[in-house]
Symmetry: C2
């Protein structure tokens, strides 16, 4: 058996453990009873440790490293695999199975504690676990291997950012977020000063879970989601889960007095699912489907949620169905009123429910907190206070409690550096939207509900190479340009100037 | 480390795989998308094989067998563990991990094929898998080890029966079912000839899923089900799943024109769950919670479903809530009318929806088919025809299709010998109901909704020793008598004579 076959056999075995962990994680997020969470977490830690041990066998590492050295002679998919394995090798070179098992248990405990703390709206119940996560996240960076002294010298937070969005640095983000601040702060002031009154009374009219379920089902059908290769259900915090190439699940959450929340969370998660469902099967079969970065993924989900989902054309498409499914809401609401209400700009507390305009401020706040935690200028115990004061500074509002403040997101139970990818996604999709416009009349395609055509373009131009290249190269291949926030800022300016009559 | 510690350490490790398999199985039964079923089945086969390998290590077997030889010097719980391990040792002595893996895959494929065949109502899509299951079930018996030549000489089907209900034989069942036939056939004729008209029009009035969900929630609360240590959801075929000592889940199924179906499936599964939730924690911690037989388990679930759930006192208890949750059904229905409608005797096609009177015929049919398959007098290909003709013979009705006939139950995807335990459960619970009556006024307790008291008696007298002793001894310890169907037959005769004015 040659190195390539050997490596793939071991990966196939490890994939069994990883698949099982995915299902157990999904179960924890959806239905696992509270008293059983820790025990199930222990099982997950055990299984992921079994996979870890397989990939730490000296024979496996030798074979994988030999492939990496010889990567120029491999097919493209195998070369990408060799590069991904080398990256993992460096990340885990000093991490023993015992240490890995300890880490898994800490992450899982953090998740359980966060759930309890959020229920109780009490940060102090999560604080110790968060300290532990911060500590092991830093420890993991300290234990890494590096190809060059330059790599080793990178700041800790740059390395964390790189884990979620290869090649992105604090320098990039400081520049990009600076540009956002520069253009969005004055624009937000103008919007807030506008005399335009957008009607919103109907947005909080009561709807049943069953009505919302029907709407979610309809929206997934509109998006051409493949139900034979997925499922949808409800969770506290909506997410998409890729359990296998034929198993891409989405979840949503119903609020009886906020029907649009579930609608747009389902379009967002449906976007993630479209990306995964239309990823070439060969990438799954070659174990490289994890090559796509979080920023790429968020670009796609936010493309469907905002660029498409909150467009005038999409509202035109779905308006008749909203009237049919939510008669008690829509009986006196016009298409234009629905469009405007879905695009109200208003500072708010919960990131996942923020409008697309103020959304980026939520990310900047989290980015600044993480950066300060990493350079040591902020301590965990002070995070809630800093969180609240930054919300006051950027958005002019202060969370009344931890649940709607610092405890709202699950992300810090598993690490730091993820949040910026949400904003970067907006910048990517505004860049490739311009290419899409060259290929078709986007509004006409959306208004006609032709998602096969839209998804087809996305598959060919946006999805096809995402597992294969780093994000900076990926966006350059699609658009011929380097990452910039300007297309996104132009889009916001044009759209909201029109809505608010600026 | 001594033998006992070593054995328990290995069992703890294997329990991780078993726990994961339980969750994956639950996922397959509840939400896993169709296109992903086979892949997930492969993962389950892999994991259960890892557990199997652990328990097949020579060091483990030697230690476990040494414990068994020395069992008279062990504490009771450890002695029971040693006996259970010895039993497993004999069952698997000639089964290699490769063979075990092959078996797991066959069972899983059978489950997937059965699901598809049932959807299509086409037995031919399940036939090949069923042949395979029959073949490996026989093969597994042929590969067993035995303590004595007498054990080895037992008929194949007796050994299968013994797997689900230790000590029960075809001789027992032929005698018991003969007695049932003798007493129930004439009684059924009298009931069918009775002029009594039971009002049933309201039983098929339309209810929503949400109303049924509320009712299921209420019934589980009435039964004192612990929601922090369980969950409930919907599946095609309702079941209870013990995933861990703090994770006992129940499922149900909603039919819009049959509200009582879900109500009584939830009381049935709630009964199973009560048994598992009130099993001593020390049994879980000592890996002997699997000692309770299927017949014991069914005795409890059917005790709650029928003896308690369909009693006049229980209907009195829940009547106000049915009026509140199902106003469109109950607005013109009296308590007495509801009680009678819940106890109509009428031959029907679906076992799980059969009334408690005709239920035993469904079991007799399956028992006779299984027995004939094992002695070679019946071939798989002829099962649907024999099934249909037996339904005609015993119940006077013929299934219109495979879905409501031979494909209705999942059980044959994993083996044979299980069905009789459903009937045996009735015989056990009618026997211990007599003891319960000596301890309390059962009707008054139920009418008052005092399930803490009822469950408390069950815990002390019925549940406590179930993992520790074989069923024939267990029922003798509770009642001082040997297994007999007569208490059950007396109960049926008295109850239905009264309802039908015989």
């Amino acid at each position: 058996m040659n190195n390539l076959e050997f490596v793939k056999n071991v990966l196939a075995e490890a994939a069994n453990y990883e698949h099982a962990c995915s299902v157990l994680n999904y179960d924890q997020e959806t239905i696992c009873p509270s008293a059983a969470m820790e025990e199930q977490g222990e099982v997950m830690a055990f299984l992921s440790n079994q996979a870890f041990k397989l990939l730490k066998q000296p024979e496996f590492i030798e074979a994988a490293e030999a492939l990496y050295k010889d990567r120029q002679n491999l097919d493209e998919l195998d070369r990408v695999l060799a590069e991904q394995l080398h990256r993992t090798y460096l990340e885990t070179v000093n991490i023993t199975p015992e240490l890995d098992h300890e880490f898994s248990r800490i992450y899982n405990k953090a998740f359980v504690d966060w759930t309890k703390a959020k229920d109780a709206s009490d940060f102090s119940m999560f604080k110790d676990s968060l300290e532990k996560v911060l500590e092991i996240e830093k420890k993991k960076i300290a234990l890494r291997g590096y190809d060059t002294p330059e790599d080793a010298a990178k700041p800790v937070y740059d390395q964390m950012l790189d884990d979620y969005e290869k090649g992105i640095t604090m320098e990039d983000l400081d520049r990009i977020f600076g540009r956002c601040r520069e253009r969005l702060v004055p624009l937000l002031k103008k919007i807030q000063a506008s005399p335009k009154k957008i009607r919103r009374d109907f947005m909080s009219r009561i709807v049943t879970d069953e009505q919302q379920r029907q709407m979610a089902q309809y929206l997934l059908e509109v998006m051409d989601y493949d139900f034979t290769r997925g499922a949808f259900t409800t969770t506290e915090h909506p997410f998409t889960d890729e359990l296998g190439k034929n198993d891409i699940r989405v979840t949503t959450h119903y609020y009886e007095d906020d029907f649009s929340s579930s609608m747009y969370s389902i379009v967002h998660e449906g976007g993630h699912a479209t990306f995964d469902q239309l990823t070439p099967e060969s990438h799954y079969d070659n174990y490289i489907d994890g090559g796509k970065t979080m920023g790429m993924h968020e670009s796609v989900s936010r493309f469907y949620e905002n660029r498409i989902g909150r467009s005038r054309a999409f509202v035109h498409l779905i308006y008749p169905k909203t009237c049919e499914i939510f008669p008690q809401v829509m009986h006196d609401v016009s298409e234009e009123e629905l469009y405007e209400a879905l695009n109200v700009v208003e500072p708010s507390l919960i990131r996942t429910q923020a409008d697309e305009f103020t959304y980026v401020f939520h990310i900047m706040i989290r980015y600044e907190i993480e950066k300060a935690l990493m350079d040591g200028s902020l301590e965990i115990k002070d995070v809630p206070q800093v969180w609240n004061s930054k919300y006051q500074e950027y958005l002019g509002i202060t969370p009344p409690d931890d649940k709607s403040g610092v405890l709202q997101d699950v992300h810090w139970t598993f690490g730091f550096g993820y949040f910026p990818t949400y904003a970067i996604g907006n910048f990517y999709n505004s860049m490739y939207y311009k290419e899409l416009e060259k290929a078709m009349d986007v509004d006409a395609t959306v208004a006609a509900g032709d998602f096969k055509k839209l998804n087809g373009w996305m598959k060919e131009h946006v999805f096809a190479r995402a597992d294969l290249v780093e994000p900076k190269q990926w966006i350059r291949e699609i658009t011929g340009r380097d990452l910039t926030p300007d297309d996104f800022l132009d889009y916001l300016e044009e759209k909201y100037s029109k809505i608010y009559g600026l």
